[in-house]
């Protein structure tokens, strides 16, 4: 009786849903994107950090709508990402071999409240980021400006950071602790947003920050919503990086991802002017592929974060490079693609390099050629040569508990088993993972399955955090615990090189050199897919980063 009822209920639901699906028609895009309209952004995260010192946002997404920095990124589909000026007149002038960087601010810059933006405000914003009360955001500048974090911010005794000088209201000079070729890129991180000098001491500054970008934060309700309205003192003429089409932007926070996907697929009423900030999950992608209208409104990136398998080089079994090289042939990257997103096209290309596509100077190569599904025979042969004719046993693979990682780990586990490598999976929630894998000195794991996206479009950000020996433990990301003094030296050299072309060559050489040692197995360059309503246009994703450029989209009118 009851199971008939249940089955009837399920049948009814399925019939209704197929009936609804049958009505879909491809949305007509009569009209172009023009300034004006209200855009709705749907998010599953319950809150947004608007305080620049505490933010880890990319240049192209949320924070870039209200905070400008010294430099910015030029992002477009089909081309590498390059650096362009934002508040500054150029992308910085290095001197003293790259130890000193000078920027000049443009004329006539004003905040949303009408006061002028001065060089000392940029200095104050950076000083503020050193205070413990406001740390937590991107910190690439910290060790360069104050080694060992000796400076603790301007709020406890009013001390200034003397490695930053502002000789006048428009010039700012940085004296770095060592030569650093990518400092112009670092100047695009959120902490380089100006904060009016003397302000921002209150803990909730992020609820009402002073805006320098095309929009200002009109209201923010944690867990619920945020509203951006235009900054009257910003104009397109002196900001070539942002179009700022919509008049207002409404964020809806804390939404369930399944509901977001359904709303956008249905594309009715106000949802037609909505955009989903969250990645489309594999299940949602499968549904979208079967719906012509939704499929036309899905935007997929060209490339993206490097998904990889880390091999703990300090564990006894994995100390031998030959053993590690066997893993390169044992993994089934095709199965990993399917486990990630259902098809190779939506998941992303097979990866064979450490540097991700879209970064200047990157070279494509393949040190371990094998078909996408791997070469278990060759793996077994390498293991036998290394003294393990019966394969390996008892390895532990740590991975994240969400974002589909357990399923992807299962696919890797199965493919390794083909080469007689037996692995147990240990899924950990985010913070336990960080603590166990990134913070602790000793390690209990042999493999990790994770992914890495550089914060700034520089090969430096692909290689240094993952392979420099100083990044082992203490919150660093060198999960393969790779420690090679020669590589460390080469990394320091490449970082100090100011000429981008020369630096690019050095990083490409490092890429090959490190991979020859096989501390990690690159898997895929993860593509991200986003869905939007039929009234949203110009939704583009460049080669890097794998996120929609919020500075370009708008409402079709």
């Amino acid at each position: 009786m009851k199971q008939l009822r249940f089955a009837a209920g399920v049948l009814a639901a399925v019939t209704l849903l197929t009936a609804c699906g049958a009505n879909d028609t491809p949305s007509g895009q009569g009209g172009t994107v023009k300034p004006g309209g209200n855009l709705v952004l749907l998010n599953d995260a319950p809150s947004i950090t608007w305080d620049p010192a505490k933010s880890s946002n990319l240049v192209v997404t949320t924070l870039g709508l209200i905070h400008r920095r010294l430099t910015s990124w030029d992002v477009a589909p089909g081309k590498d990402t390059t650096i362009v000026p934002d508040l500054a007149t150029d992308t910085g002038r290095p001197s003293d071999g790259g130890k000193t960087w000078t920027f000049t601010l443009k004329d006539g810059l004003k905040y949303a409240d009408g006061t002028p933006i001065k060089a000392e405000d940029v200095k104050w914003g950076l000083e503020r980021s050193f205070a413990p009360a406001f740390s937590g955001g991107l910190a690439y500048h910290k060790d360069l400006l104050s080694p060992g974090l000796a400076y603790k911010g301007p709020f406890d005794g009013g001390k200034e950071l003397d490695t930053i000088q502002t000789p006048d209201a428009k010039t700012i000079v940085f004296h770095l602790a060592r030569a650093y070729g990518d400092f112009n890129w670092v100047a695009s991180t959120p902490a380089f947003s100006p904060v009016p000098k003397g302000k921002g001491a209150e803990a909730n500054y992020g609820d009402h920050p002073v805006a320098s970008g095309p929009y200002q934060l009109a209201s923010y309700e944690r867990g619920k919503s945020a509203k951006l309205t235009r900054n009257p003192n910003w104009s397109r003429d002196e900001d070539k990086t942002r179009l700022a089409n919509p008049d207002t932007i409404d964020f809806e926070l804390g939404q369930d991802t399944g509901v977001i996907s359904k709303r956008l697929v249905d594309d009715t009423g106000k949802d037609r002017a909505a955009f989903g900030m969250t990645f489309a999950s594999p299940a949602q992608l499968a549904q979208i592929q079967g719906n012509a209208s939704a499929k036309s409104r899905l935007v997929t990136s060209e490339s993206g974060a490097l998904a990889y398998l880390s091999l703990n080089t300090q564990r006894s079994n994995l100390k031998n490079p030959k053993v590690r090289q066997a893993f390169q042939y044992a993994v089934d990257k095709a199965a990993f693609q399917v486990a990630s997103a259902g098809s190779a096209q939506l998941a992303g290309d097979v990866a064979t390099t450490l540097i991700t596509p879209g970064l200047q100077g990157r070279e494509q190569y393949d040190l371990y050629p094998a078909p996408p599904s791997g070469d278990p025979a060759k793996a077994k042969q390498l293991l036998a040569e290394a003294g393990f004719p019966n394969g390996l046993d008892g390895l532990v693979m740590a991975t994240h508990n969400e974002r589909g990682f357990p399923e992807k780990a299962a696919a890797i586990q199965a493919s390794l088993a083909r080469a007689n490598i037996k692995v147990t999976i240990k899924p950990l929630d985010e913070d336990t993972y960080t603590s166990e894998v990134d913070t602790k000195g000793l390690s209990d794991y042999d493999l990790t399955l994770t992914s890495w996206q550089p914060d700034i479009p520089s090969a430096n950000a692909n290689i240094q955090p993952l392979f420099q020996s100083t990044e082992i433990g203490n919150g660093g990301y060198n999960e393969s615990r790779y420690s090679n003094p020669e590589v460390d030296k080469l990394i320091a050299e490449a970082q100090a090189t100011v000429d981008p072309a020369e630096a690019g060559k050095k990083w490409a050489a490092l890429d090959k050199k490190i991979l020859a040692d096989s501390p990690v197995v690159p898997l895929i360059y993860t593509r991200n897919s986003f869905l939007h309503g039929s009234q949203v246009g110009d939704v583009q994703i460049g080669r890097f980063p794998a996120y929609v450029d919020y500075r370009k989209f708008g409402i079709i009118q």
């Binding site: 399917v338 147990t424 999976i425 899924p427």
Partner: protein, 312 residues
């Protein structure tokens, strides 16, 4: 509540009806109950002999992407149901769904039954003791129960899951945690009944005759508590199975790749529109096992206590 006059032997007539006899009577009492009892047996067999069944099907738990279509969904209709794959396959991996469900049954039943036994045993002992003995013991028990009831066990599970080594059997951890967090619910209900019973005449009579606490417990209280205990127990089994599924649903139950209905259901919900059978098979089975235990439990209670008049 049962209140038969005490016989000279001091044992109420009802307790002479032993549990196995009651169960047998209950199972035969109606065609629907028999079907549910059969269902319980079938699913228990499926769980116990999962390997054999899967071998008979000719599959295993290894992924196989050749069974999937171009979007990662199973090729073929009804989620890939065929002679080779009785329940179809799992999207994105191609793992045989029957194998997943069969092994998942084992996880669910092991944890569900184990946790119920632990929680009920603890709950009855502690609850009856509290209700009967009263005084400071009762207050301590009530207070401890409050502490445990007030604590979100989800946090505990996450903490334990992170701390225990990978090779420690996760099912045991789940049974212990669910059992320890489950006894207060049983105890509160049992204690309430025991409180009322304790003040009854026949209990006082037994004490006057000279019966010690253990004698009173086994001969006077327990026989009169069977009905609420069975009801609570029969409601606990499916609830424990559901809790295991919920914890696996949230990712803190058994670790992959050990199959679990909860985890499968959690992924299948997102695929409901594109591959409904992925949800239907484990979801339906979870529903059926819960239903079957409820129906059989009800019938047993009715058999033990004819005054309650039988189920619908």
């Amino acid at each position: 509540m049962i209140n038969p006059p005490p016989t000279p032997a001091g044992v109420p007539a009802l307790a002479a009806r032993s549990l196995p006899a009651a169960v047998w009577r209950a199972v035969r009492s109606g065609w629907w109950t028999s079907v549910c009892a059969l269902l319980v047996v079938v699913i228990v067999l499926l769980a116990a002999g999962a390997d054999l069944f899967v071998l008979a099907e000719g599959q295993d738990l290894v992924p196989d992407i050749s069974t999937l279509g171009p979007t990662g969904l199973p090729a073929g209709t009804l989620g890939g149901v065929s002679g080779a794959h009785w329940f179809g396959v799992e999207p994105l991996t191609g793992v045989d769904l029957f194998a997943l469900v069969a092994h998942g049954a084992r996880t669910s039943l092991l944890v569900g039954l184990g946790a119920t036994v632990l929680a009920t045993a603890l709950g009855v002992l502690i609850g009856v003791g509290a209700g009967y003995l009263g005084g400071w013991w009762d207050r301590l028990v009530t207070w401890t129960a409050d502490v445990i009831l007030g604590f979100p066990y989800l946090i505990f599970m996450i903490a334990l899951g992170a701390v225990l080594p990978v090779d420690f059997p996760r099912q045991v951890t789940l049974i212990v945690v669910l059992g320890l967090f489950g006894w207060p619910r049983v105890a509160r209900i049992v204690r309430a009944q025991a409180l009322t019973l304790a003040k009854r005449d026949f209990v006082a009579a037994a004490r006057v005759i000279g019966g010690g606490p253990w004698h009173v417990f086994t001969k006077e209280l327990l026989p009169n508590l069977w009905a609420p205990i069975i009801v609570v127990g029969s409601l606990s089994i499916p609830s424990m199975i559901g809790s295991e599924a919920a914890l696996s649903f949230l990712g803190v139950g058994v670790l992959p790749p050990t199959p679990s209905w909860g985890r499968t259901i959690s992924t299948a919900i997102d695929f409901f529109e594109t591959d409904p059978m992925y949800l239907v098979f484990p979801g339906l089975l979870l529903f059926l096992i819960t239903l079957a235990f409820n129906v059989v439990g009800d019938a047993v209670r009715d058999a033990l206590d004819p005054r309650s008049g039988g189920a619908a």
